[in-house]
């Protein structure tokens, strides 16, 4: 090969490995996805688009939970509590006080983070299981408050009538069409979610590779040694908790406007468990892991609402006997959670590090600790460039 070809190829490879290419890919895929879904799914497009939005929203939640669970190695069983706080904050501010979605979401993130700090300061000193139990207690407390504080939250009746987000482009010079509009179509919703998800991915990625991310990893691996290096464990953990809670509140805040109502049932204990599953199945401590885990599990659960055997039967129409047999397989929508459970058990047995694992995490779980990974650049060397 000639020299220019080689240098062209190597610079191309650098672009592909770098973040720029990944972002380009993200935006291209995000822009094309609804159209692709429409082409592929045809009649069930609205199902597909709704699922897509849920994937995006819950991926934000999973990225947030991952900061505590994956980056810091702390088990949080009450993440749904922060989502609920975000949802009510946004709902109430938009409906009662006429806040725009953007202002309400911003306040919600701050409000969620504040509760993260309030919960974190007394509890982060606790170790392992006790910490997990307290976080569980916290989310129950939030749910109970929401269910019983009728005057503010309307309690178990649910909180309806939350307006849709408005987009105002008048501040951009030269924008001529649709200056100001309310997000209503499923396309617009997806683009809103995809944009917020991009922001969350960006922050999660920067955090992971920052000094802060390294300190979290050190705390996860050996807290005493980390403190001996001068790391203030309480401060760093509280910070992780606050950022994580802010992510959760943002996800809750989007869900509130997406559903235009809040039901306390949407954020019960199982929400915390599901989001935890997305993180664990996708791969703790990475950025793409929670995204992959959410995409897989949310799609699976939405798909399994309808009898999978019956769906298969429709495809198998060329073999009438089999199709007929499949169509008669009994099914209850709740049975999907059995399948869900089986999938998780298989994952934990065969791939405990998740679909897209963190290198260090994979080593922790498989213990083959093989040396000499030339791709592994240290943070310091990355900073030098």
């Amino acid at each position: 090969m000639t020299v220019p070809t080689v240098s062209l190829l190597s610079s191309l490879a650098a672009v592909v490995r770098g973040r720029a290419f990944a972002w380009l890919l993200y935006f291209a895929v995000a822009a094309a996805l609804p159209f692709l879904l429409q082409a592929v799914l045809g009649e069930s497009f609205s199902w597909g688009a709704r699922t897509l939005c849920y994937v995006g929203i819950y991926a934000i939640a999973a990225l947030g939970l991952n900061i505590v669970v994956g980056y810091c190695g702390l088990l949080n069983l009450g993440f749904g509590g922060f989502m609920l706080i975000g949802a009510y904050t946004t709902g109430i501010l938009m409906k009662e006080y006429g806040f725009s979605f953007w202002a309400a979401a911003l306040v919600s993130v701050g409000h969620g983070a504040l509760w993260g700090i309030i919960l974190g300061i007394p509890t982060l000193r606790l170790t392992g299981d006790y910490f997990a139990i307290v976080t569980f207690g916290f989310s129950q407390l939030v749910t109970m408050t929401a269910m019983n504080w009728d005057r503010i939250t309307r309690g178990t009746k649910g909180y309806p009538g939350i307006p849709r987000p408005e987009v105002d482009l008048t501040w951009i010079p030269g924008v001529s069409f649709r200056h100001q509009f309310q997000i209503t179509s499923i396309y617009e919703y997806w683009y809103l979610v995809a944009a917020l998800l991009a922001l969350c991915l960006f922050v999660a990625d920067r955090l992971l590779r920052s000094r802060l991310g390294r300190a979290w990893q050190a705390l996860r691996e050996d807290e005493v040694a980390a403190e001996a290096c001068g790391i203030n464990a309480m401060w760093y953990k509280t910070l992780a908790f606050a950022i994580s809670a802010g992510y959760g509140a943002l996800a809750g805040s989007i869900i509130a406007t997406y559903d235009t109502m809040i039901s306390t049932k949407v954020f019960d204990f199982m929400t915390s468990v599901y989001v935890l599953c997305y993180v664990v199945l996708g791969g703790m401590g990475t950025v793409l892991g929670p995204l992959a885990g959410t995409a897989l599990l949310v799609t699976l659960v939405e798909w399994l609402r309808e009898n999978p055997a019956a769906q298969l039967a429709r495809v198998m129409s060329w073999w009438p006997a089999a199709a007929d047999w499949l169509a008669r397989v009994p099914y209850q929508p709740d049975m999907r959670f059995v399948l869900y459970g089986i999938l998780l058990i298989l994952m934990i047995r065969f791939r405990p590090e998740g679909l897209l694992p963190n290198r260090a995490r994979a080593r922790e779980l498989h213990e083959h600790g093989e040396a000499g990974d030339p791709d592994h650049e240290s943070l310091f060397e990355l900073r030098q460039r």
Binding site: R214, E221, E227, A228, A233, A360, R363, G369, R383
Partner: protein
């Protein structure tokens, strides 16, 4: 000859675990530029002394002063930020970080990037094996390599006083020689050293001064050579008849 200033001083320090009272009023001092060793049999409380200094086992009574400032009630990270660095027993590396990342963690409190980079190169010169394995996870190193990595990580903080807890534990004699040589080199460059050792003979030869600790109390002190010649030390800690 004027004495150098006292850098670290323990004054009647008591500490323990739960209801167990292990240290029963420990007092000693380490002067700037010295190598001081703490010897004693298993379970005497040597590790507990180091943990009490660095805040991992906060003292119940007594005071620890560093450079004239009371550090008794400070958090471990605050004590570390005052230049008290501990190379703990059993190495305590970050096993899934690479060697290079471990060294960077040692320099966590520093902001001088050029200095950090230079110090890392220095560590790789001091411990060539670490340079060779800089991209290997620390958990995959051999025991001796891990000990070197722990020492190098400690040095990356540019400590004022470096505390070693049994650096020779489980190492081949040749490696022990090397580690002791490095401790001397560190000291020659101006870092004060507090060394806890089972290998009393080598420790006393290296150290300027030493203290003997038994069941949580200092029973004897003196210069390295004085203690080497002491009958009781010979009998109890040097295994001589």
């Amino acid at each position: 000859m004027t004495n150098p200033p006292v850098l670290l001083r323990l004054d009647a320090v008591e500490a323990g675990y739960g209801s167990l009272r292990i240290l029963k009023g420990i007092s000693f001092e380490v002067c700037a530029g010295e190598i001081v060793t703490l010897i004693g049999s298993n379970g005497a409380g040597k590790t507990t002394v180091l943990n009490a200094i660095c805040g991992v086992v906060p003292p119940r009574r007594g005071t620890v002063t560093m450079d004239g400032h009371d550090i008794t009630r400070l958090q471990p990270h605050e004590i570390a930020s005052r230049g008290v660095v501990h190379v703990p027993e059993g190495r305590k590396l970050f096993p899934d970080m690479t060697v290079a990342e471990n060294l960077e963690m040692g320099a966590h409190l520093r902001r001088d990037r050029a200095g950090i980079r230079a110090d890392m190169e220095k560590m790789y010169n001091l411990f060539p094996i670490l340079g060779e394995r800089r991209h290997a996870p620390a958990g995959a190193l051999s025991g001796g390599e891990q000990q070197m990595c722990a020492i190098a990580r400690g040095l990356m903080a540019r400590p004022r006083i470096m505390m070693f807890d049994e650096p020779s534990l489980g190492l081949a004699p040749k490696l022990v020689e090397q580690i002791f040589g490095i401790i001397r080199a560190i000291n020659d460059e101006g870092t004060t050293v507090l060394l806890v050792e089972q290998n009393a003979h080598m420790a006393l030869q290296l150290a300027h001064r030493g203290y003997v600790i038994a069941t949580g109390e200092i029973t004897l002190s003196g210069s390295g050579s004085e203690l080497l010649g002491n009958e009781m030390v010979k009998r109890l800690y040097l295994g001589e008849a």
